[in-house]
């Protein structure tokens, strides 16, 4: 039966119910969006727990646990110059730039990005003459409000288009999202912002068309990090009630990353409060070696609304090669002290003179922070307070109580002291005055940090510097780097292989270099090469024996259909196999079809694993309550002995095989890696790995033949000698490796 034809028939059957013009995409995207929302909600709930745990960790202070970032993909993308865009619906862009020129002034809609969350237009204005602007700053001119009109008449507000005070000006307008399917809109602009009414053409009407975004449009991936990595505080620092610093997203750029996070207003264990909005700008990013990573604010990231309690930040770091992970550290927090004042009386005398200075050396201490009012100096129109304080104090207030100062300033004077001025419009006050001192903001040393590294490191170093012919663990990475099997190494490989383009699979025998390819069975499956290399047994309903020299194929008379998994005894005198009529049974038969002997009724659909070197025991594996288990059948007595459970074995098929010397068992684990374990269950170690999975394992002497699976293509085959770490590929061989015979 031709598979292609049957496929066509079944397709026609299904077509009546499932038409070709199906479109699941909107449903899928909508569902993804909902799932992400749901995740966010559940994360918020779990955040309470996370915060509690974090507080405990910080209270214990000395404990330092590296942060673990659980990063997940979101539907956001980042477009340089545009910012974060929601990609849960197909993006659209401007079909073509639109230029409208009137009386020498041109309005160009140069770009548009329509995403699920907003519609962004970039509008350039050129050619505005200077006399179109008001002469006075107090006259703001036209507002320049822009709107988008959709085909159904809906009007969307989107900010103002300004001409600025330049002949060229670019405005970025953000409108509400335009529904999918609406691919036209009209930009309406009454007048160009900042210009005088009547000076320039008014009532601009600009038709726009949108098209699906081209696949090659640069949209950088955005990864949400939730929850934020745990914030670690340096030992001895005051413990915050919750993290001050969180890392929320990162953007993967071609040559760097953008880290997006926030500062939060939190209460410290010393009674002080750290205000989120005060912190921006004092973050330090370092690599794992403590080296500072150059970073700059990322201005093209639009933030959620900032509040006094929540202050988002974004830093762009250049480069992708660092000693990971990076630490984002808030070395010290700016803290506003609770409102406190110290007052004392100061007498200027009745006629203070400009330049007169009174030495006071008055100390003030608040919350353990100190400052000193060194002196007060009379100026031409007021007074200056000269203050001294340590580096942990950021700002100190000093003023005369109850006076009507109209201005003032401050800064470091030539002596390095902080100087605060008070100025008055009339005669400055004199006589007995009340001086008020207040330490207002201080720095709290924190070294609160979070560590981060991208989900996928840019160019992960090869896990194994494989040199040709020398690896101890075969991986997908090093398999292509291995040398092909040398010509000096001869042998035969038995393969279950696609025979031709018709899709038929059969059994093939070939030399290791692919030469002398010989089709043994077509069709046929489950094959085994006799120890002498002269015969092949395979199954197809019943078992068949193929004599390679004569080419004669004989059905083994003793087998009765539904026989598979044949396995030669070491001396070639017996074939063990599984029969699955009315249950599964492990049986033996002599290669001439006589001597059929049922050894064991295995209701668990087990698989044969091998023989002991002396042929006295037959091993098989079968799934049990604790997982796949290795058993041994003593052929002399027929007793079955449980050996050990295959640790973390593949649930479906561990493909366990015993080495010819009876010392090792090779099997697949749950992710299709291959492990070797001694026959007493000890010394388990990895010999082949790869996310694709290892499909087949065969032994010949102390060599392992391994097929790295490709799902509908054929396996990539390799040879590995675990003891010597010699390894080669078999580039000329294709299919599933069923047997191997190396002289």
């Amino acid at each position: 039966m031709n598979i292609t034809d049957t496929s066509r028939v079944l397709d026609a059957v299904a077509q009546e119910y499932v038409p070709g013009e199906l479109n699941l995409l909107p449903r899928i995207l909508s569902s993804l969006e909902k799932k992400n929302d749901a995740r966010l909600r559940s994360r918020r709930t779990s955040l309470v727990l996370i915060v509690l745990v974090t507080v405990l960790v910080l209270v214990m202070a000395a404990i330092s646990i590296p942060a673990v970032a659980q990063a997940m993909q979101r539907l956001f993308g980042f477009i340089p110059g545009v910012g974060l865009v929601d990609r849960s619906a197909p993006m659209r862009v401007l079909a073509e730039p639109v230029v409208l020129t009137r009386s020498g002034v041109s309005l160009t809609v140069s770009d548009a990005i329509l995403s699920a969350d907003r519609s962004l237009l970039v509008v350039d204005i050129k050619g505005v003459p200077l006399d179109a602007y008001p002469a006075s700053e107090s006259d703001p001119g036209c507002l320049g409000a822009a709107r988008l009109r959709l085909p159904d008449g809906t009007l969307l507000d989107g900010g103002n288009i300004s001409g600025g005070n330049w002949s060229f000006f670019q405005s970025r307008l953000e409108f509400a999202p335009i529904p999918p399917g609406v691919n036209a809109a009209t930009l309406l602009l009454g007048c160009i912002g900042g210009t005088l009414p009547g000076k320039l053409p008014q009532d601009w009407v600009v038709p726009l068309r949108f098209v699906p975004a081209p696949p090659q449009m640069t949209i950088n991936p955005v990864f949400e990090i939730s929850p934020s990595p745990v914030q670690i505080g340096q030992s001895g620092t005051p413990a915050p009630s919750q993290p001050i610093l969180t890392l929320e997203k990162y953007v993967e750029l071609e040559n760097g990353y953008i880290l997006i996070g926030a500062f939060h207003t939190v209460h410290l264990s010393n009674g002080l409060t750290v205000t989120g909005s005060d912190q921006t700008g004092i973050v330090k990013i370092t690599d794992a070696n403590g080296q500072v990573v150059p970073a700059e604010p990322a201005y093209d990231v639009q933030f959620p609304t900032s509040t006094s309690d929540y202050s988002p930040w974004a830093f762009k770091i250049q480069g992708r090669q660092f000693s990971w992970p990076l630490s984002i550290t808030l070395a010290q927090a700016i803290v506003r002290l609770p409102e406190q004042q110290m007052k004392f009386t100061f007498d200027t005398g009745s006629d203070p003179q400009a330049g007169q200075e009174w030495l006071l050396n008055k100390d003030v201490e608040m919350n353990g922070y100190r400052a000193r009012l060194i002196s007060i100096r009379r100026g031409a129109d007021g007074y200056a307070f000269i203050l001294q304080h340590g580096p942990q104090v950021v700002s100190v207030g000093a003023w005369f109580e109850g006076t009507n100062a109209v201005g003032g300033g401050g800064g470091l004077n030539s002596q390095g002291y902080q100087e605060l001025d008070e100025t008055y419009t009339g005669t400055p006050p004199a006589g007995k005055l009340t001086v008020v001192l207040s330490i207002q903001t201080v720095l709290v040393p924190g070294l609160w940090s979070v560590t981060w590294q991208p989900d996928v490191l840019p160019t992960p170093a090869p896990s194994l510097q494989a040199t040709a012919g020398s690896v101890c663990t075969l991986t997908e990475d090093n398999l292509p780097q291995l040398a092909p099997v040398p010509a000096s190494m001869t042998g035969k490989a038995l393969l279950y292989q696609k025979l031709d383009q018709s899709g038929a699979w059969g059994i093939v025998l070939a030399n290791l270099d692919g030469s002398q390819r010989q089709v043994i069975a077509n069709p046929g499956n489950w094959s085994a090469l006799a120890p002498d290399g002269a015969r092949v047994v395979y199954s197809y309903d019943v078992l068949y024996l193929a004599d390679l020299q004569s080419g004669k194929v004989t059905a083994l008379a003793g087998t009765n259909g539904n026989d598979y998994n044949p396995l030669w005894s070491p001396d070639g005198k017996w074939i063990a196999f599984i029969n699955s009529v009315n249950g599964t049974h492990i049986s033996l038969i002599v290669p001439d079809g006589t001597g059929l002997r049922r050894l064991y009724d295995d209701s668990n659909h087990g698989a044969l694993a091998g023989w002991s070197p002396d042929g006295a025991q037959l091993y098989f594996t079968a799934p049990g309550l604790d997982g796949w288990t290795l058993y041994a059948i003593d052929l002399a007595t027929g007793t079955v002995k449980t050996l050990f459970v295959l640790e973390d074995a593949s649930l479906k098929a561990p493909n366990a095989t015993v080495s010819p010397d009876g010392a090792w068992l090779a099997y697949r684990d749950r992710v299709m890696n291959v492990y070797l374990v001694r026959m007493d269950g000890t010394d388990r170690h990895l010999v082949a790995s790869g996310p694709v999975g290892i499909s087949t394992i065969v032994w010949s002497g102390d060599w392992l033949g391994i097929g790295v699976g490709n799902f509908n293509a054929e396996d990539t085959l390799g040879l590995l000698q675990p003891q010597t770490c010699q390894a080669y590929t078999l580039p000329e061989l294709h299919g599933n490796l069923e047997g191997l015979r190396l002289p």
Binding site: M1, N2, I3, T4, D5, T6, S7, V9, L10, D11, A12, V13, A14, Q15, Y17, V18, L22, L24, L25, I28, S31, L32, K35, Q73, R74, L75, F76, R87, P90, M91, P215, I219, N220, P221, E252, D455, V456, E476, K498, G503, W505, N525, W526, S539, D541, Y564, N565, I578, S580, T584, H605, G606, A607, K652, A653, P691, V692, N710, F711, N712
Partner: protein, 184 residues
């Protein structure tokens, strides 16, 4: 853009990659699921959920693997699970009617008259309907998706031998059936 590029795009959280894969495989996938579930809305749900699953786990997907067979295996498994959950179909004994179905498929693949073909399509659907979901999955994989028996063994969550037994049994009966027909 080929599948590899689409997957790479998707791995970089670019949803455009998913769009390409959905557009490319949704019809075949829904038809596959339908042939197993015999329930159009369920088939669409199955494929939708499979795409979402793929999206959520795409970072574990190795681009060196071919996407289509991997994806179709997921669809087959999801369709089977969906049927099991709903228990809408009365399972028959394994192998009970596969021979009949295979004969019909063979016949339909060789007919020249559209009228006859249409009639056979109805019979094929009816024959499929008699099978258990697991059997339908085996037939769909072998005769619709063109998977090898070893590939199918992985999908059906059973030992390879079990699948081979199913197909071997079916084939032998089919041979008998064809012999009978040619003898008539």
């Amino acid at each position: 853009m080929d599948d590899v590029q689409a997957i790479q795009q998707l791995k970089q959280a670019d949803i455009g990659g998913l769009e390409i894969l959905v557009t490319r495989y949704q019809v075949k996938a829904v038809r596959t699921a339908f042939l197993i579930t015999h329930d159009e809305p369920m088939a669409e749900d199955v494929v939708q959920d499979t795409f979402i699953h793929i999206y959520q786990h795409i970072r574990q997907f190795d681009e060196n693997r071919l996407f289509e067979p991997y994806f179709m295996r997921c669809v087959v498994n999801a369709a089977l699970n969906a049927v099991r959950k709903k228990s809408r179909w009365t399972p028959s004994e394994p192998g009970a009617d596969i021979d009949e179905l295979e004969a019909l498929l063979l016949q339909a693949a060789s007919v020249e008259q559209q009228v006859e073909f249409n009639q056979l399509k109805g019979e094929i659907l009816a024959a499929l309907n008699k099978l258990s979901a697991r059997q339908r999955a085996a037939v769909v994989q072998r005769y619709y998706l063109g998977m090898s028996e070893k590939e199918m063994a992985g999908t059906l969550e059973t030992a390879p031998g079990t699948v081979k037994w199913l197909l071997n049994a079916a084939r032998s009966r089919l041979r008998d059936l064809l012999h009978e027909r040619s003898a008539k």
